[in-house]
């Protein structure tokens, strides 16, 4: 199977400049700088690369939204906030292949003619931060970051910023607020960041994995990349597999790869041979799938959606038969309630309220209307907020109820017990 992102993973010293250079690194940057920015954008468009941060928006198309020849400076933000539960692919990329990531970001910055880029790293990612900071320093020394990069006449600088531990700062406008030094709260759209982002200037936010694929695309050509994967989901994708499997980890497979193969071949099958109950295919925010449905699904945007969930960030959470679903949802509820930035009424109130109810239901202290109330909370919390965090709690609630309602009902006190007082 063709590897795009992990082609050089594991090679000696690949995390160093020399190691990356020896593996052919920076040839893509050199090539890109000889192209016009528009040509680079076209190349990436033709690759069919879609954003790997979760939303799956075509990367080249997004770059094309930046106004040409505007007076304001353009910014690139690299989204390395990776906080979606079940997702740890960007971390592997930054720790093991920092120069590849940086090369991709440089090409992106050139394509949108940014003169400043911000690498926004999740606060807990200590090694990632050190690797990226070092990589930026090295490239500065080598002249690949700075004035007139490789004689192209284009200047670029990079800032490395470590977050303070907020999930919502991974949302692109929350990230921008944070970069601006404000409270980490998503911004109302419109205006969209490509027109009015960081400091009121055009800004592109891209996920690390999206950018990490760019050097390969420039080297091999967009068509080579689009030949991989399926009709609509091109290329390869990283899947962070966690939970009840023998070999959890980050795997690169072609889009459209069968879930069953990922679990059984790559991950060595279910842990201890215990039967699987459910799989969350794209990070904790996407709908849970019953294991039998999930195991028949292929890993591409369209197939997963058809099967009732979303590919999201590719965080595959594998759940075995012994796991209580109310317990799992209780944990997720607490996470979202803790991470809601608190701006939007439905999210601020709904996440906390929902979490409190989920907790008492899980503990067997549920009240009569609780499951109905949770239904209502989930329904009205989604789709009417500034960012998708609120929906990210709705989707789990709705899907857990859809497939595993009986487990919740079983925890509800019986009428007899209630009648006791």
């Amino acid at each position: 199977m063709t590897k795009v992102l992990f082609e050089h993973r594991g090679k000696a010293d690949i995390e160093t400049f020399d190691g990356w250079k020896a593996a052919g690194g920076f040839s893509a940057l050199e090539k890109a700088l000889k192209m016009t920015p528009e040509e680079v954008i076209e190349e990436v468009k033709s690759s069919g690369l879609r954003g790997r941060g979760g939303a799956g928006f075509p990367t080249g198309v997004k770059w094309g939204f930046v106004p040409k020849g505007g007076e304001k400076p353009v910014y690139l933000c690299i989204n390395a906030d990776e906080s979606e539960p079940g997702t740890c692919k960007d971390r592997v990329l930054m720790e093991e292949l920092p120069f590849m990531c940086l090369e991709g970001a440089l090409i992106a910055a050139y394509a949108i003619q940014a003169k400043m880029a911000f690498w926004y790293i999740r606060g807990e990612f200590d090694l990632s931060e050190r690797r990226m900071r070092q990589a930026v320093e090295v490239l500065r020394e080598k002249g690949l970051i700075g004035k007139n990069v490789l004689g192209s006449g284009w200047d670029i600088d990079f800032g490395v910023h470590r977050g303070a531990g907020a999930y919502v700062c991974g949302e692109e406008t929350g990230l921008i607020s944070s970069v601006e030094g404000k409270q980490g709260q998503p911004k109302l759209k419109p205006p969209f960041p490509a027109l009015e982002g960081a400091f009121g200037c055009p800004t592109i936010v891209n996920n690390v994995e999206s950018l990490a694929a760019v050097p390969w695309i420039v080297n091999h050509g967009g068509s080579k990349y689009s030949a991989l994967g399926t009709e609509k989901s091109k290329g390869t994708k990283l899947f962070s597999v966690s939970g009840a499997v023998n070999k959890p980890g980050v795997y690169e497979v072609e889009m459209g790869y069968p879930m069953a193969d990922l679990i059984n071949k790559e991950c060595g099958g279910a842990l201890n041979g215990i039967g699987l109950k459910a799989i969350i295919p794209g990070g904790s925010s996407v709908p849970v799938m019953p294991a039998d449905v999930a195991m028949k699904t292929n890993l591409d945007y369209e197939s997963v959606q058809e099967a009732g969930s979303l590919l999201g960030s590719g965080g595959v959470i594998v759940i075995d038969e012994n796991q209580s679903m109310p317990e799992l949802l209780d944990i997720l509820g607490r996470f979202y309630a803790h991470e809601s930035c608190g701006q939007c009424t439905p999210c601020r109130e709904g996440t906390g309220w929902g979490a409190r109810i989920l907790h008492r239901v899980h503990e067997g202290r549920g009240e009569q209307q609780d499951l109905e109330t949770l239904d209502r909370i989930a329904r009205f919390m989604s789709g009417t907020t500034i960012c998708f965090l609120a929906s990210s709690m709705s989707m789990p609630i709705q899907s857990f109820f859809k497939h595993f309602k009986h487990e919740f009902e079983a925890l509800m006190p019986t009428i007899d017990a209630v009648a006791g007082d």
Binding site: L188, H338, Q343, G352, W353
Partner: protein
């Protein structure tokens, strides 16, 4: 000329200027889109989510505050989905709300209460002990009280301090349902405009400390007024006790709030101006007095006649007339006429009652009088500059809301004034001058009279008689006409409106204006000319 767009809202076609959002556009067809966070004079935050509407061709329910009307747009503000969502937002807002309406000053004018009645009306499903607890009765600033539990996190107050005053004291701290409105540690909400945050707070989270527990809002009647505090002339709403069927109207004023006027003060006023209601209630002159005796109206007026008529026989110019920049244009106009036709004095003195004070580059002006510009324009020609020499040797003096004896006045003027035996004083509140006067006629405060003031920018604004006093007061205009009458000069009785018409006909600064044109928001003469041209 700005371009317009046509759109349909709830089946009605309407036309609005390009760039208008759907909350404002809906107002044009008399549809009310409920909202907490949106405020016309602040940036759009879009966080409360109460203002959702349905727009054909748009996915989901967009928020009206951040959706701009476009040509051909079809909007429904009352669809089932919209109503259901509004009710859901109300339910969310009430999850952690303390609902302490009985002890909340906002009750009766609370968006949360009102919207609950209009859009929700369901029973509470959250037990009190399950609610998130926060701080109550926090003295967040010298003039503002904070109840964090009542906050709906709309960020209006935060945006006010960031965008209007630029002082940035407030923040919504913490996250999720622990989001809490507060100041930065060690900071107070103490800017000169701080009480505006209480006005725009849609609930009882921020309230005025001055108004705290003073009156339930439903017992208050609200009338338009103008702040007398400085020459900016912020438009205000004056709350005073309501006439009820029980007849317990007590003429007490309770508070001033800004009244929106885009040309003057937008939706704001300063904290100093807020206190200007106190003078309506306190230290009032309540009885006609002559020689320290409560003598009644007829007695007092008779006293004036008996005292001054003989003096007039000694020639013209023996009676001095002193008015102040607190007077209305109509009062100054009539005062000049009174002095000339009744007391045979061609010139009057126009004085400041207060020294210049603090000013800023927003609303607060250094001149602490509401009508310097108008008084000067109306009195033009007959104004004397030097008060001391003007008063020197006069046999009688009539003061109209003029505090000649105020502390800071030059000694020469005070001496010249004190030397005059016959001192007739028309004013509303007790001062050193009224104390020293031989005849005191209790007159109206700015809240009890009709008339106009001209602010520093030449904008002529209306005062209307709102508060009715239980004790005996008469308007200055009425009193001046009665004085003329007892002095034996027969005038046709005129109202403030008629006097204004006379002013408009002869003073250029008022050219083309009348009370109709001035309306609630005031007008300038040049603007009036453009309209009539």
């Amino acid at each position: 000329m700005s371009e317009n767009v046509k759109l349909t809202i709830n089946g009605f076609e309407t036309e609005v200027p390009k760039g208008t959002n759907l909350i404002e556009a809906a107002r044009c067809v008399k549809a009310k889109v409920p909202h907490f966070c949106y405020h016309r004079d602040l940036s759009v935050a879009g966080n409360c989510r109460m203002c959702v509407v349905e727009v054909e061709g748009m996915r989901g329910l967009p928020i009206a505050c951040n959706t701009i009307a476009t040509e051909g747009m079809v909007v429904n503000t009352e669809s089932d989905a919209v109503k259901e969502n509004r009710a859901a937002i109300m339910e969310f807002l009430l999850v952690n709300h303390p609902i302490d309406c009985p002890v909340c000053d906002q009750a009766g004018e609370c968006k949360l209460q009102n919207y609950y009645m209009e859009h929700d009306r369901r029973d509470s499903v959250v037990a009190v002990e399950d609610k998130v607890k926060k701080g109550k009765a926090i003295e967040v600033g010298p003039r503002v009280m904070l109840d964090q539990e009542r906050c709906v996190a709309c960020s209006r107050c935060v945006r006010f301090c960031d965008e209007v005053t630029g002082t940035g004291e407030l923040r919504l701290l913490n996250r999720g349902d622990h989001t809490t409105i507060d100041t930065f540690p060690g900071k107070k909400l103490d800017n000169n405009y701080s009480v505006n945050t209480a006005d725009i707070c849609p609930v009882g989270a921020l309230t005025s400390r001055d108004f705290r527990f003073q009156a339930r809002s439903w017992y208050l009647e609200k009338d338009n007024s103008i702040c007398p505090g400085c020459s900016t002339g912020c438009n205000t709403t004056l709350s005073h006790y309501k006439q009820t069927t029980l007849g317990d109207y007590n003429g007490v004023a309770y508070r001033l709030k800004p009244r929106r006027n885009p040309a003057v003060n937008k939706a704001w006023m300063c904290d100093f101006g807020r206190t200007e209601y106190v003078q309506i209630n306190e230290n009032r002159l309540t009885q006609p007095i002559a020689s320290n005796i409560e003598i009644g109206w007829d007695g007092a007026l008779g006293h004036i006649r008996n005292g001054i008529a003989p003096l007039l026989e000694r020639g013209s110019g023996v009676v001095a007339g002193v008015a102040s920049y607190d007077c209305t244009n109509e009062e100054i106009w009539l005062f000049k006429k009174l002095m000339k036709e009744v007391f045979h004095t061609d010139s009057i003195a126009l004085i400041a009652n207060r020294e210049d004070g603090y000013s800023d580059d927003f609303l607060i002006a250094a001149d602490k009088h509401p009508n310097r510009r108008g008084s000067m324009a109306v009195a033009k020609g007959g104004v004397v500059e030097d008060l001391a020499s003007y008063l020197d040797g006069k046999l009688a003096v009539i003061t109209l809301s003029a505090d000649v004896l105020s502390d800071w006045r030059d000694e020469a003027s005070k001496k010249a004034f004190s030397a005059i035996k016959q001192k007739i004083c028309l004013q509303s509140n007790g001062t050193a001058t009224s104390d020293a006067s031989s005849v005191v006629l209790p007159a109206t405060s700015y809240a009890e009279k009709d008339g106009t003031w001209t602010n520093k920018d030449g904008r002529v604004q209306r005062l209307t008689a709102a508060v009715r006093k239980e004790f005996s007061v008469r308007s200055e205009i009425q009193l001046m006409q009665q004085i003329a009458h007892v002095m034996g000069v027969e005038w046709e009785l005129k109202s403030a409106m008629q006097l204004f018409a006379e002013i408009a006909a002869s003073v250029p600064e008022f050219d083309g204006l009348d009370y109709g044109k001035i309306g609630k928001l005031g007008a300038t003469a040049s603007a009036a000319q453009t309209v009539s041209a």
